[in-house]
């Protein structure tokens, strides 16, 4: 069967050797199994991320995203643009909306884009990888390739903020989204019911306000433990990084004994689809997801 084609916007953190490179590895394998072809947008640039506003302001920030949109329009005509990073998706989608709302803003944007030899018609539809999976592949389609159900594993589905708000996945609640738990069930594991599903991890303030964001992270990990989770699963790079990386910090400061692996949905799927630990990017875990590795290594 012919593969589904998408203009792919990987985003900075997913690049080789970057903080979420292992995410991209698993995404690649997952898409392979699901006949999804991702065509990387040539020479894409950073979206400005959530913290870009401080220095960047409005138009420069919009223009950054606009450049990616323009490139996609020109280089991969007719293809919808897919991001795996909530920040990338959010910035792009917000840019699309804002430029649709305001003629003058679009004009100003094009004035700036001209400097980079680009123009934007603003015709590219923005998708999040999760939307592609649910809406284009469908639950049945996602289930089909499962060969190694992750039986006996308990996951705390941690959706976080930006995949969920302000846009969110169609039909999901901002306060209590279900899709991540459904994905966990789909790969044969058990989602735990806990109350920090959409709690903010502190986002970019992890750097500038470590104590405040670590307090958030502590809540999340604690609740995951309290409700019997073996691991946390998330669709978000920043969530993954913050919640995984700072556990040791929190242990140091607060005397906790956190050691909870934090993985991506794509890693679960890769393993369930029969991929090995490396393909699932499990070698990229700071806190090793041994139970997953075990299943992955099973022949």
């Amino acid at each position: 069967m012919s593969k589904k084609q998408y203009a792919f916007y990987p985003g900075c953190s997913s690049q080789k050797g970057a903080s979420a490179s292992n995410f991209l590895t698993s995404i690649g394998v997952m898409c392979e199994k699901l006949d999804i072809q991702l065509n990387e947008i040539p020479d894409w640039n950073c979206c400005g991320a959530s913290i870009g506003y401080g220095e960047g302001g409005e138009l420069p920030r919009l223009v950054l995203s606009a450049r990616n949109l323009a490139l996609a329009e020109r280089e991969l005509p007719g293809q919808e643009m897919v991001s795996v990073c909530p920040a990338c998706w959010l910035s792009s989608r917000e840019t699309v909306d804002r430029l649709h709302e305001s003629e003058s803003l679009l004009a100003e944007t094009n004035e700036a884009l001209k400097e980079a030899g680009l123009t934007l018609k603003n015709e590219v539809k923005q998708r999040h990888m999760v939307e592609v999976l649910i809406e284009d592949i469908g639950w049945e389609g996602m289930k089909k390739p499962v060969v190694k159900p992750l039986e006996g594993l308990k996951f705390a589905g941690y959706v976080g903020c930006q995949t969920n708000r302000p846009f969110g996945i169609a039909g999901e609640s901002f306060e209590n989204p279900q899709y991540l738990d459904k994905m966990v069930e789909m790969v044969g594991a058990e989602p735990v019911k806990y109350d920090q599903k959409v709690t903010c991890c502190g986002g970019a303030l992890a750097f500038s306000e470590p104590d405040k964001s670590q307090a958030q992270i502590r809540q999340i990990v604690e609740s995951a433990y309290d409700h019997g989770a073996d691991m946390i699963v998330t669709p978000c790079q920043l969530c993954q990084a913050n919640v995984e990386i700072y556990q040791s910090e929190i242990n140091k400061k607060k005397g906790t004994k956190f050691n909870m692996p934090v993985v991506y949905y794509s890693q679960l799927m890769t393993v369930a689809y029969g991929g090995d630990a490396k393909q699932a990017g499990l070698d990229g875990q700071l806190i090793r997801a041994e139970q997953l590795e075990k299943i992955a290594s099973k022949k």
């Binding site: 609640s173 901002f174 306060e175 209590n176 109350d195």
Partner: protein
């Protein structure tokens, strides 16, 4: 059944709640021919499900008794229950209306002796108590039900349970072969008194109505307080049946919110102020009520009621739209998170029970009305372009009972004007 005689001198009133009953009665007592149709098995509407009225703290069934007596005694007024309007054609003074009559499976013979109810064991959710309790599948909708006639729930028709009910009836009132019927009638004017429904609290996700047992709606709280309600009038919370002594009332639950209802539902402030007095009635000084509000809208002399509740030591007010409700998993208490905006004070407060003062939305939201009907942005009925159909009561605007009756009385006269025009043009 045979179609009731109706002509272009007949006024059709749609909806048998307090507004519909009023509109119908006022016209009928002027000697006009009126047909009152009601979707459910009994007249009374939402007011029959209230425990007390503000500001007098009197009982809605008191006025209902009078209205039912007026209805029983008036030959100009005919009522049809379990009947819905499915189509309206024609124009001012001459409408063709299609009615759909659902089977009640009980005919006019019924004496409400209750034998069928004793005979069946199947139970269904009790709509009268908003599903907070169950009722036998052969039931009288409530003690004041009019017509005073039982209903066989469709779910037991064609089952042994249904047959039991039939066998038990001493007067051959149970007719399990009843079918849905469609009736065409001709009327001169139509009053839409289709009323309101409580906004679906599940949609207000931050308040976790769908996840937290001890978060309920204001209409459900009315049933808890009512002696005819699921708890026999005791304020017990759903999760564990423990006394609900420390109760939070959250205003604008759905209302004044562009994510849900744009409009203010008017009644909710007074309803919550009233309900704080249920808490006092139940627990005296041991009760505690907290009202979380944006603006307290106690209009005209209702201000007196507000002023008195304000003085009540068991009631406190927080000017805040609650941000979210979490659940204390240890004791099932809802925990309210938010900020008191008068001076910026953050709170995380536990209560035994949370009552969402849910907004009013028109019952016709999502229902296909005649093209001629003019509605506002919240689907409240302003009237019809041809001036022959009128909104009345809560169908026309979010109104308290007193205002609804006022509105219905006015609508009744507007309908009479249409009939009058017909009569005089025919005379000419």
């Amino acid at each position: 059944m045979t179609a009731p005689i109706a002509t272009n001198q007949t006024i059709l009133v749609v909806g048998g709640g307090i507004s519909g009953m009023t509109a119908a009665l006022e016209a009928a007592e002027c000697g006009k021919q009126v047909l009152l149709v009601e979707k459910t098995p009994t007249l009374g509407g939402r007011t029959a499900q209230l425990y007390r009225y503000f500001p007098k703290m009197c009982h809605p069934t008191c006025g209902m008794e009078i209205n039912l007596k007026r209805i029983r005694g008036n030959p100009n007024l005919r009522t049809m229950t379990m009947t819905q309007v499915v189509a309206v054609s024609g124009s001012r003074g001459d409408y063709k209306v299609t009615l759909k009559v659902s089977p009640r499976y009980v005919n006019e013979n019924c004496t409400a002796c209750g034998k069928c109810g004793e005979a069946v064991s199947a139970e269904v959710a009790d709509a009268y108590n908003y599903g907070l309790s169950k009722v036998r599948a052969a039931y009288l909708p409530h003690v004041m039900a009019y017509p005073q006639r039982y209903v066989i729930d469709a779910s037991i028709v064609g089952t042994p349970e249904g047959e039991k009910a039939k066998a038990a009836c001493p007067v051959n009132a149970v007719d399990l072969d009843m079918k849905e019927e469609t009736i065409e009638i001709n009327v001169g004017a139509v009053v839409w008194a289709t009323g309101w429904r409580p906004f679906d609290a599940n949609k207000i996700q931050p308040y976790g109505y769908d996840r937290i047992a001890n978060v309920i709606t204001s209409v459900e709280f009315e049933r808890l307080a009512d002696p005819h309600g699921p708890t026999g009038g005791k304020l017990l919370r759903p999760s564990d049946g423990n006394p609900a002594k420390n109760v939070a009332f959250i205003q604008c639950a759905g209302s004044r919110d562009e994510n849900y209802l744009r409009h203010c539902s008017r009644i909710c402030c007074m309803a919550s102020l009233k309900q704080t007095q249920y808490v006092r009635e139940a627990w005296g000084d041991a009760g505690k009520s907290t009202i979380y509000y944006i603006d307290i809208r106690a209009i005209d002399r209702f201000e007196d009621f507000y002023a008195n509740v304000w003085k009540d030591s068991t009631v406190s007010f927080v000017k805040s739209k609650v941000a979210r409700i979490a659940e204390n998993e240890a004791n099932g208490n809802p925990v309210l998170h938010g900020v008191d905006t008068e001076g910026y004070h953050r709170y995380a407060t536990e209560h035994d029970l949370v009552v969402l003062a849910v907004g009013m939305e028109p019952e016709v939201t999502g229902v296909k009305l005649p093209a001629d009907i003019v509605m506002d942005s919240s689907n409240f009925i302003e009237g019809s372009k041809d001036g022959g159909m009128f909104g009345a009561g809560a169908a026309s605007s979010p109104l308290d009972v007193n205002r609804a009756v006022q509105s219905a009385t006015a609508a009744s006269l507007k309908a009479i004007q249409v009939i009058h025009k017909n009569a005089s043009t025919e005379a000419a």
